[in-house]
C-alpha cells in the first residue's frame, strides 16, 4: 500500500505492507533509529513519538493510521548535528539516563509535558513519565532533568515546540 507520512516536517511517500507499525516504518523506511522497540505491545513506552504534538506509542499504530498526522521523532527535536535542545541538555546535566534505550521516549514525553505545562510539579512530572519504563535509572535523575529543563526554559523564554 502506498501512503504518505509527514515526519519531522517533511512529507514522504512510501510503499509498505499495511501491517507495518509506525515504529517500524520510522526505523526501517526512514532510517530514524531513535524510536526503539521494547515490547511491541504498548507497555514500555520506548517507542514514543509525538503525533500531532501528543506523546503516543508508535508500536500501537499501523503506519496507514498515521497518514495526515504530524509526526515528530527525537531526530525532529534535535536542533542540529551535535546540538542539544534545552531539554536534551538538561538530561545530560543530571545524567537522566544510563543505557540510553528509553531516553528518546523520555525526552519526547518531556517535550509534550512542557509544551502544555511549563511549570510542572514533581508529581506531574512523575505522572507524565509513568508510561515510560526505565530499568536503569530508578527515575530520579530523569525527573530532575525535566524539572531542570522546565526551570531553565521558564527563565529563558525558550520555545518548546520542535524546530522542524
Amino acid at each position: 500500500m502506498r501512503i504518505e507520512l509527514s515526519v519531522n516536517g517533511v512529507k514522504h511517500a512510501l510503499d509498505i505492507e499495511e501491517r507495518t507499525t509506525l515504529l517500524d516504518a520510522l526505523r526501517d523506511h526512514f532510517a530514524l533509529k531513535g524510536a526503539h522497540a521494547g515490547c511491541e505491545h504498548g507497555v514500555c513506552g520506548a517507542c514514543t513519538v509525538l503525533v500531532d504534538g501528543m506523546a503516543v506509542r508508535s508500536c500501537l499504530m499501523f503506519a496507514p493510521q498515521a497518514e495526515g498526522s504530524t509526526i515528530t521523532t527525537i531526530e525532529g527535536v534535535t536542533p542540529g548535528p551535535g546540538e542539544l535542545s534545552p531539554i536534551q541538555d538538561a538530561f545530560c546535566e543530571t545524567h537522566g539516563m544510563q543505557c540510553g534505550y528509553c531516553t528518546p521516549a523520555m525526552v519526547l514525553t518531556a517535550h509534550a509535558l512542557l509544551a502544555g505545562n511549563p511549570a510542572p510539579t514533581r508529581e506531574q512530572i512523575v505522572e507524565a513519565i509513568s508510561g515510560n519504563i526505565c530499568r536503569c535509572t530508578g527515575y530520579a535523575q530523569i525527573v530532575e532533568a525535566i524539572a531542570l529543563a522546565a526551570e531553565r526554559m521558564r527563565g529563558a523564554n525558550a520555545p518548546v515546540e520542535p524546530r522542524r
Binding site: G100, V126, I142
Partner: protein
C-alpha cells in the same frame, strides 16, 4: 562537592555517552543495518517437556520471502554444545532443542526470511508433532526419588550438591543458648532490560571472518561462539562499539549468537535475530535466580550470632550455563557485614522444566542478603531486642579491617557504623519509629525495614574453581591501551561493550586524572575483539576497579616515559624531573622545561634526542590483574573471592492498606559506601536503578508458571516493571571508605541498591504485619497475597 585530593575524579562531570543517547544516536544492535540481511523468528515448544517426533517445514518454505528453516538436528550436527560452568557433560545445552524440548517456550525451529514479519508468518506454518513427557517444576520435588528427569542421561535432576563447613559449626551451635530456623524464598524474577537481546552476524568467506554485532554483556563471548561453531577464535570479530540497552547481567545470548552465526555461514548472507518480547521472556534464557533458603542461626541472649547454617536450593530451569555459579559467588560475603565465626553452606542446584537462567545483577548476592537480613530481624524479634541494635552488636568494626571471613575471603575495608550513623543523623530513628506508630494508630499497617548489606566487587571469580574443581582459573584481568599520536592527541581503548555504566567517561576521567589533563580531550574507543586485549567484561561490579586500574597504569606508563624523555633531554637526573599537567620541568630550575608538544615531537621525530634504546612513539598498554587474585581454593573450600566490599544500609518506612494489602513506601534512605566515587552522577544512578530493580523483585515481578508448566507472566502486561509511580523519592547518603587495594580507592557500585532493597522492603513488610502475627518470607510480596494473609489473620 567532595573535598578530595583529586582534580577530576569524584567531581560532578557529565557523562560523555549521554550526548548521543539524548539525540537518539546510540548504536544499538537493532540499528545495525546490513544490506541483504535476513531475519530470524523462532518456533517454540508449547509443552513443559516433550519429545519432538516430527517437524514439517513444507508449508513454511512455500511462504514468499522465506529462505531457510533450521531444526535442532541440523544445528546439533553442525555445532558443538554450549559451554557450561559446572562439569555436567550429560546436561548439554544447544540453541535449538535436540530430540527433546525441556521447557515451554524453548526454541525448536528457526525460520529465516527477508523480513521479520514473513519469518513470523512462516513460523506459524511449521507443523511439529510432540509427544508430551512428564515434567517437574518445583525444585524440592525435582530432588525427590521418582521425579521426572529433565535430562535422562544425567541420572538425576541435581547438577550441584556441595557442602562447605568453615569453622567449628557444630561446636558453636552446641555452645549457643539460642537457635532459630527460617525458610526464605526468592521468587523467580530477572532484570529484564527494555531492549531485548539481539545479534547480527555476517560471514566473510574470503577472509574467514564472522562479524558479530550483539547486545552482549558476557566474558569470553567471541571464544564461545568460535568453539560452538568449530572455527578458530581468530575467525570471530565481535564489534564492541554496539551500545547495549541495559543488561544488568542477563544479556549472555550465546545460544542466539551460535544460532545466528551458524545461519550466517550456512546461508552466505547476514542474519539478524532481534528477540521479540515473547521470545525473550519465554525462551531467551534470561531468567534470574529462584532460590529457596533454609537458614539456621545460633546466637546468644544478647543477639550475638555465633554460627550459621545455610542451605541454598536453586531452581535452575531446564539447562545451565554459568547460572549455577550464582550459588558460589555469595560465598565470598557469606556472613554479610557481620562477625559470624563459623558457617556451613550447602549449595544445591537442580534442573526443572522451566526457562533457563542466566547471570543476574549481583550473581546471587541479592537473594543471599535477603536470607541473612531476614534472619537478623527474626533474631531481634525472638529476643525482643531492637533490630538495629542487634545488627550493631554483630557488625565488623572499622578497626578490624582487613577482615577475614570463615570462607576464606578478606574484606578490604569498611566503616559500617559511620554509614549507619550518617543515615540516622539524617533520619532520626526514634522519630521514624514514632511515625510508624502514629500510622498504626491511624489504622494503617506500618513497618520499618532495615538492611545492612555488602556489595562484593572486583570479579575475582574463584567461585568457578570452588564449584567445579576441573576449573583452575585464577587470572581475572582487564586492559587498556593508550596512544598519543604525533600531534599529541590521546586515544585510549577499552575492550568490551557497555550497557549504560559510562565506561568511556570512566576511562577518560582516570587517564585525565593521572595525566592532569582535561578528561574530555581523551578519546576513548572500543576496538573489535580481534584488536582487543583481554577483558573480563562488566560483570561482578568490577569495571571501576579493573578498567579503572588498567587505564590508570597505562597512563602512569605514559607519564613515566614522558618524564624520562624530558629528563634525558634536559640533561638532569630522573629524580629531578617533575611532571605537571603534561609538561615536565627541572625541580631545581623550573624554567627548564619541556612542554607536552615538545615531548611528543621528540618521541615521534627526534630519535637523536631520545634515551638510548627507548622505543619511539608513545604507545602503552596495561593488563591489570584483579587485586588479591591468583589463588585457588584450599582443600576445605576456602578461597579469596572478590577484593573489595562496598556497603549499603537501607532504612525504609512502609505502610500497607489493611483492607487492600497495597504497600506504599513512605520514606527511603540509603547509606552507600563504595570508596572513591570516580563519577558521582554515575554512582548515584546505579544505586537508584538498583533500588528500583529491588523494589520490582520485592513487590511486583515474578515469572509465574501455572501447573501445566506454562509461563503465565510472559508479557509486560503480567510481568510488572516498576514505573515512576512505584519508585519513591530516595535519599542517598554517601560515605567513602577507600579500598587500600585499588588505584584510586574505588570499589564497585554496579549492583548497589539491588543487593539490599529487597531485604529492606521484606523486613519492612514483616514489621508492618507483625502486630497481626504474620511472617512472610517469600518474594514477591504481592498485593493479593498480603491482602489474603491480613484478612485471614483478622478472621474475615
Amino acid at each position: 562537592m567532595s573535598e578530595h585530593q583529586f582534580r577530576f575524579v569524584a567531581s560532578d562531570r557529565r557523562v560523555r555517552e549521554d550526548r548521543r543517547f539524548v539525540a537518539g544516536k546510540g548504536n544499538f544492535v537493532a540499528d545495525v543495518d546490513l544490506p541483504g540481511a535476513l531475519h530470524v523468528a523462532l518456533v517454540t515448544c508449547p509443552h513443559a517437556a516433550a519429545r519432538i517426533t516430527s517437524i514439517d517445514k513444507r508449508a513454511a518454505l512455500k511462504i514468499p520471502g522465506v529462505h531457510y528453516v533450521l531444526d535442532g538436528a541440523e544445528l546439533a550436527a553442525g555445532t558443538d554444545v554450549l559451554i557450561a560452568g559446572l562439569d555436567t557433560p550429560n546436561v548439554p545445552r544447544r540453541p535449538l532443542a535436540f530430540e527433546v524440548a525441556r521447557y515451554s517456550g524453548e526454541w525448536v525451529v528457526a525460520v529465516v526470511a527477508e523480513t521479520r514479519a514473513q519469518a513470523e508468518d512462516a513460523a506459524e506454518a511449521i507443523e511439529i508433532d510432540y509427544e508430551p513427557l512428564p515434567f517437574v517444576l518445583d525444585a524440592e520435588k525435582a530432588m525427590e526419588k521418582g521425579s521426572p528427569l529433565v535430562h535422562e542421561a544425567h541420572g538425576s535432576n541435581v547438577l550441584l550438591d556441595k557442602t562447605f563447613v568453615w569453622g567449628e559449626v557444630e561446636k558453636d551451635f552446641a555452645a549457643s543458648p539460642r537457635k532459630l530456623a527460617l525458610r526464605v524464598k526468592w521468587g523467580r524474577s530477572s532484570t529484564v532490560p527494555i531492549e531485548t537481546f539481539g545479534v547480527v552476524a555476517r560471514w566473510d568467506s574470503w577472509r574467514d571472518i564472522l562479524d558479530v554485532w550483539a547486545s552482549i554483556q558476557m566474558p569470553r563471548y567471541a571464544e564461545q561462539i568460535a568453539a560452538a561453531l568449530k572455527i578458530p577464535a581468530t575467525s570471530v570479530r565481535v564489534h564492541y562499539d554496539v551500545d547495549v540497552g541495559g543488561s544488568y547481567g542477563v544479556k549472555r545470548g550465546i545460544k542466539h549468537s551460535v544460532l545466528v552465526g551458524y545461519l550466517a555461514r550456512r546461508l552466505g548472507a547476514p542474519v539478524r535475530l532481534i528477540e521479540d518480547r515473547l521470545e525473550n521472556m519465554r525462551g531467551g534464557d534470561a531468567h534470574g535466580p529462584e532460590r529457596l533458603f533454609d537458614v539456621e542461626v545460633a546466637f546468644d541472649n544478647d543477639g550475638i550470632v555465633r554460627s550459621m547454617k545455610l542451605r541454598a536450593l536453586e531452581n535452575l530451569g531446564a539447562y545451565a550455563g554459568r547460572s549455577p555459579f550464582q550459588l558460589g559467588k555469595p560465598i565470598g560475603a557469606i556472613v554479610g557485614p557481620y562477625k559470624i565465626k563459623s558457617v556451613e553452606y550447602r549449595a544445591l542446584a537442580v534442573v526443572t522444566n522451566k526457562t533457563t537462567q542466566d547471570a543476574v545483577r549481583g550473581f546471587g548476592q541479592g537473594p543471599t542478603n535477603l536470607a541473612l537480613e531476614r534472619a537478623m530481624d527474626e533474631i531481634a524479634n525472638k529476643l525482643k531486642l531492637d533490630r538495629l541494635e542487634v545488627r550493631r552488636r554483630n557488625l565488623i568494626h572499622r578497626d578490624e579491617f582487613p577482615y577475614l571471613i570463615p570462607s576464606g575471603t578478606t574484606y578490604d575495608s569498611g566503616d559500617y557504623e559511620t554509614v549507619i550513623a550518617k543515615v540516622l543523623a539524617d533520619t532520626n530513628y526514634d522519630e521514624l519509629i514514632k511515625e510508624r506508630d502514629r500510622l498504626r494508630t491511624d489504622g494503617k499497617l506500618a513497618g520499618i525495614g532495615i538492611a545492612a548489606c555488602l556489595e562484593p566487587s572486583g570479579g575475582n571469580a574463584t567461585f568457578e574453581a570452588l564449584l567445579n574443581p576441573k576449573i583452575t582459573t585464577s587470572t581475572f584481568m582487564d586492559s587498556c591501551r593508550l596512544n598519543v599520536d604525533g600531534n599529541g592527541t590521546i586515544t585510549a581503548t577499552m575492550h568490551t561493550t557497555s550497557s549504560g555504566q559510562g565506561h568511556e567517561t570512566l576511562v577518560g576521567t582516570v587517564i585525565g586524572e593521572v595525566l592532569q589533563v582535561d578528561p574530555d580531550v581523551v578519546r576513548v574507543t572500543r576496538p573489535d575483539s580481534l584488536n582487543s586485549l583481554p577483558s573480563g567484561t562488566p560483570v561482578g561490579s568490577r569495571m571501576a576497579i579493573m578498567l579503572g586500574g588498567a587505564a590508570f597504569h597505562a597512563a602512569q606508563k605514559l607519564k613515566a616515559k614522558l618524564t624520562a624523555i624530558a629528563a634525558h633531554d634536559l640533561g638532569i637526573p630522573l629524580e629531578r624531573a617533575v611532571y605537571e599537567q603534561g609538561n615536565v620541568y627541572d625541580r631545581d630550575k623550573p624554567a627548564n622545561r619541556r612542554t607536552w608538544a615538545e615531548l611528543v615531537g621528540i618521541a615521534y621525530r627526534n630519535m637523536h634526542r631520545m634515551p638510548a634504546g627507548m622505543e619511539p612513539g608513545l604507545a602503552f598498554s596495561h593488563i591489570y590483574p584483579v587485586p588479591t587474585g591468583g589463588t585457588l581454593p584450599t582443600a576445605d573450600g576456602r578461597v579469596q573471592m572478590y577484593p573489595c566490599f562496598s556497603f549499603e544500609f537501607h532504612l525504609v518506612l512502609l505502610s500497607i492498606d489493611p483492607d487492600l494489602g497495597t504497600p506504599e513506601i513512605l520514606r527511603y534512605r540509603v547509606g552507600h559506601d563504595c570508596g572513591t566515587q570516580i563519577n558521582p552522577k554515575i554512582v548515584r544512578g546505579m544505586t537508584m536503578g538498583g533500588i528500583a530493580h529491588g523494589i520490582g523483585a520485592a513487590l511486583y515481578e515474578e515469572f509465574a508458571y501455572n501447573d501445566e508448566g506454562q509461563l503465565i507472566a510472559q508479557s509486560f502486561m503480567d510481568y510488572l516493571l516498576p514505573s515512576s509511580h512505584e519508585v519513591p523519592a530516595v535519599k542517598i547518603i554517601d560515605h567513602e571508605t577507600p579500598s587500600p587495594l585499588t588505584v584510586l580507592g574505588q570499589k564497585g557500585s554496579g549492583e548497589s541498591g539491588y543487593l539490599g532493597a529487597p531485604a529492606a522492603i521484606a523486613n519492612a513488610v514483616n514489621d508492618a504485619l507483625k502486630p497481626l502475627g504474620i511472617t512472610i518470607n517469600t518474594l514477591p510480596l504481592k498485593v493479593s497475597k498480603l491482602g489474603d494473609l491480613i484478612a485471614e489473620a483478622r478472621g474475615k
